[in-house]
Symmetry: C2
Subunit: 190 residues, 2 copies
């Protein structure tokens, strides 16, 4: 189950056998049931999660009292609340499994100690974080520049499987339009 | 001029004198004139910038042909296009000085080589990147959950000096509302 994580790390850096053993000793394999939370608003986030199989999401409850998805994480993505993790402040977010999901969880204390020991791991997390930040910059660009219809088609073109897999209301909120608009556009009425 | 960078690094990690010398050898001090660009859409981004004094911004030109600011960087912030930097693809963004600005620029090739040599620097950039990503998650939350009026007051409460310093139309686009709305709210008409 850890193979996918080690394969992902190999894309960016190399760990020697001793480092692999040390990393393995802090990995916690976990199955999260569909709709189960690993973090709720107000809790301190002390864990990061790597999705092995399935899908997690980060969401908020907006001023109308409805859930709004800010981020999805499918296979080979990390998900956490970095602000809560680093600043030790209560989280503003919920982290939840969208499907039955297998994750590798790493606790902050164990990870931060290991990162000091293994520079290649610092490198891996630095590059992954910078690339994820770059993807987030593009996401804000799309939110600002594309119409709702364009955002839907762009998302559907890039992640066709994903659109089949995840409940429509979650994708609608991720793309910042209503579930009604989503139904119409999927029915070809827009 | 490099003192502010070394002070910032000290907040997260420690460099020994040899490492400080090596880092200094790749730093390029530069003065960017107000409105001057260091990156334009379509160019490959091979540099990261640390703001010593002044203000930089990242913006796009939206579908109405107007500039929309996605990010500001004031003193002690890094700014770059990480997607272009890591994937070697043309940038979707402009990076421009909002005021006459002093930056420390580091070229990608020199930095990436140095990061392999100096694990503490990997650590520094990893933590800074994760914290910036966390701040971006909050930014998306605010865009999704606050009204335009709430976003203005929140920004004004947290960065009162900044609101005085930066042209209003840039802040308006950053907060995703019109310059007209900005004028009205500042005049107390909303």
């Amino acid at each position: 189950m850890c193979k996918s994580l080690f394969d992902h790390i190999e894309k960016f850096t190399t760990l020697n056998p001793t480092e692999i053993d040390k990393l393995e000793s802090v990995l916690n394999l976990s199955r999260i049931k569909k709709k189960e939370h690993v973090l709720k608003e107000g809790q301190i986030c002390n864990t990061i999660y790597f999705v092995v199989k399935g899908c997690m999401r980060q969401y908020i409850i907006n001023s109308r009292g409805t859930e709004q998805t800010l981020q999805f994480a499918i296979e080979n993505w990390w998900i956490t609340d970095y602000l809560s993790y680093h600043n030790h402040v209560p989280s503003s977010f919920y982290l939840q499994a969208v499907e039955n999901t297998e994750v590798i969880a790493i606790e902050k204390n164990a990870l931060e100690a290991l990162l000091i020991e293994i520079p290649s791991l610092e490198r891996y997390f630095r590059i992954v974080s910078e690339k994820t930040f770059g993807a987030m910059q593009m996401r804000i660009k799309y939110l600002f520049t594309m119409s709702a219809e364009e955002r839907y088609h762009h998302f559907n073109d890039h992640f066709p499987e994903f659109v089949q897999r995840v409940p429509q209301y979650m994708i609608a909120s991720y793309l910042d339009f209503s579930a009604e608009f989503m139904s119409k556009i999927r029915a070809g009425k827009i």
